[in-house]
């Protein structure tokens, strides 16, 4: 009975069927359409299409703007999540619901809304232009703004969820050690909810990377400055669906590689 060979694993760790079956079904559901794209992809012409300079240009622009938009969302969104989860003010529930507005707004309408506020004749944009000479539409900065507008709520809401699930007694312990609320946030709260922040940042980055409607409406579509991959894909879809699939696959491949290589590193820390 010694089972000498089995010493090194204690728990057989087989996931229960009742979880495994829906999990695999869910996975298949999310991944199968990708398989459809792969099957349809015009593999023979793929190298030629990839070599076209506008692909690299659009890809670079997409990655850069999505990353900047994510950074901006982290900067503004994490404090906002903290405010919603850790302070109590009248109307907090309403404010929290308002944060989800950009999620629900059809992206094109979101773009129109951004134009109404930040456009040349917008409420704030008007003043930005006359005071600072800044115009956002039709610029790369505009792309970042549109992407951040659409993607930030994902970050805010998932970080808020993580903050609510965190054990607040560690924050109390930090306060008794003389830590100001800012220090508590920076040195205790944030590191403890890091997996939640990373999850939110991933959502935010991916959403920004795939963002189309608000970007084209607010920032327009010009090669080199505002034509991101999704815009290139959409236009390719109009004339040569094959090319659209190739572009989508490029975007996917790059984002999957980036996410697969980065995430475990961030997540494993705490």
């Amino acid at each position: 009975m010694g089972a000498a060979t089995e010493h090194h694993r204690t728990a057989p760790a087989r996931p229960p069927w009742v979880l495994l079956v829906p999990a695999l079904a869910g996975l298949a559901f999310l991944v199968l359409p990708l398989a459809g794209l792969l099957v349809r992809a015009p593999w023979s012409t793929l190298p030629a299409r990839l070599a076209e300079p506008y692909v690299l240009e659009a890809l670079r622009l997409s990655l850069v703007t999505a990353t900047i938009a994510t950074a901006m969302s982290l900067l503004l969104g994490v404090p906002l999540a903290w405010l919603l989860a850790r302070t109590d003010f009248p109307g907090r529930r309403l404010v929290r619901a308002l944060v989800t507005v950009p999620l629900v707004l059809p992206p094109v309408v979101g773009g129109v809304a951004l134009l109404l506020v930040l456009g040349r004749r917008g409420l704030v944009g008007q003043w930005l232009e006359s005071a600072f000479g800044i115009t956002l539409p039709f610029t790369t900065a505009g792309v970042v703004v549109a992407e951040a507008f659409v993607a930030m709520p994902f970050l805010v809401i998932s970080v808020e969820g993580a903050l609510r699930a965190a054990d607040r007694r560690y924050e109390e312990a930090a306060a008794t050690l003389g830590a100001s609320r800012w220090t508590v946030f920076r040195r205790v709260t944030l590191p403890m909810v890091m997996p939640g922040v990373v999850a939110g940042a991933v959502l935010c980055w991916a959403r920004a990377l795939g963002e189309f409607g608000a970007t084209i409406t607010f920032a327009g579509n010009f090669p080199g400055t505002t034509r991101t991959m999704p815009l290139a894909v959409y236009l390719a879809l109009e004339t040569e669906p094959e090319a659209a699939i190739v572009l989508s696959l490029v975007l996917l491949a790059v984002s999957v590689v980036i996410l697969a290589s980065l995430r475990d590193r961030w997540v494993s820390a705490p």
Binding site: E172, T176, A179, S180, P191
Partner: protein
């Protein structure tokens, strides 16, 4: 660094109402049964639980209006609450960093403190890699690191082994003697309380039931809880000269008192007999054995009868008397072994 506090905390099923004064350099031990409100009192002092009423004045300055981080306190929590994402060293360095020390400086302070609690070699470990006792020692070091004016310790030695406990206890004493601040210490261990505290405050159900110097409290317990804590049998009765009437039983004592009084005697002073003895002890009653347990080298017998009492006897005596739970037996205490004092 004198602390003067009146702490009132109201909860649905529990009310804490406590006057607490701690002089500069004094160590007050807060004792009491589970759920008495000791942790609640410490948390109120730290500002983690709002006062329903009352005030906290440290050295003449009201402190109850300050946020926890503005209070000059150090606190050790009952379940440690070490930051899981920081190493032991960085946990201890956290407080000094918050007080503006440079990183190197804070780490130096922390390393010295870890050294003192005997954990220099575990400095790099994460809390989850520490054993329970190690974690508590790190928590202690973390609280000491902020050089507080008011030190709040919730069972700081509970998880330590006998050996370490001795060392940390002396270290703690030395540290407490060093700084002029006030210390409030929660403990269940009478020995810790006796060794570390200048004064004991016993609370039950949110209110103070007894306070005083350790020896005084030990000698004159005023509630069952305190009596058990210091290992005495305790009764409250009506004294009439050299006798105290406790329920049905008249207990002869060596003191002469009048009116409400306590009588106490140690379990070792109780002698047991299978049949009614015919001797000098004046206090004799029939009792039923409710339980028997080992107690150190001796055996502790729980007695039910006109009064509830514990008797400590040797294992040899146990074997000889052939006692078993449920049996009826005679118990006696010499009047000279009892101690009576006004209630």
């Amino acid at each position: 660094m004198t602390l003067h506090a009146r702490l009132v905390v109201t909860r649905p099923a529990f009310t804490l109402d406590l006057d607490l004064d701690v002089a500069a350099g004094e160590v007050v031990a807060l004792l009491g049964p589970n759920g008495a409100g000791k942790t609640t009192a410490l948390r109120a002092l730290a500002g983690l639980v709002p006062l329903s009423e009352g005030e906290i004045v440290l050295d003449g300055h009201p402190m109850h209006t300050l946020a926890p981080e503005q209070r000059p306190i150090g606190m050790v929590f009952q379940d440690y609450l070490l930051f899981p994402h920081l190493s032991a060293l960085d946990n201890v360095a956290f407080g000094p960093r918050c007080q503006g020390a440079s990183k190197a400086e804070a780490r130096r302070t922390a390393a010295a403190l870890l050294e003192r609690v005997g954990l220099a070699d575990r400095a790099a470990a994460r809390p989850r890699q520490l054993s329970g006792g190690q974690a508590q020692r790190v928590a202690l070091a973390r609280a000491l690191a902020v050089r507080p004016d008011l030190l709040l310790l919730d069972e700081p030695l509970a998880a330590l082994d006998a050996h370490t406990r001795l060392g940390v206890r002396s270290e703690l004493r030395r540290h407490l003697a060093d700084f002029g601040g006030a210390t409030v210490l929660v403990t269940h261990d009478p020995l810790d309380a006796m060794v570390l505290a200048d004064r004991l405050v016993v609370i039950e159900d949110g209110a103070i039931v007894q306070q005083g110097a350790p020896a005084e409290v030990a000698r004159h317990p005023r509630t069952d809880y305190v009596a058990r804590l210091v290992g005495l049998n305790l009764y409250r009765g009506l004294a009439d000269g050299p006798r105290v009437k406790v329920g049905e039983l008249l207990i002869s004592t060596s003191e002469r008192l009048e009116g409400a009084a306590f009588v106490a005697f140690p379990p070792a002073a109780v002698a047991l007999y299978r049949s009614r003895p015919d001797g000098s002890p004046r206090n004799l009653w029939e009792a039923r054995i409710d339980g028997i347990e080992r107690h150190g080298d001796n055996v502790r017998v729980h007695l039910e009868g006109p009064v509830t009492a514990f008797a400590d006897i040797t294992p040899a005596a146990l074997a000889e008397l052939d006692l078993a739970p449920g049996q009826t037996i005679w118990a006696s205490v010499k009047a000279t072994e009892t101690h009576a004092y006004p209630a």
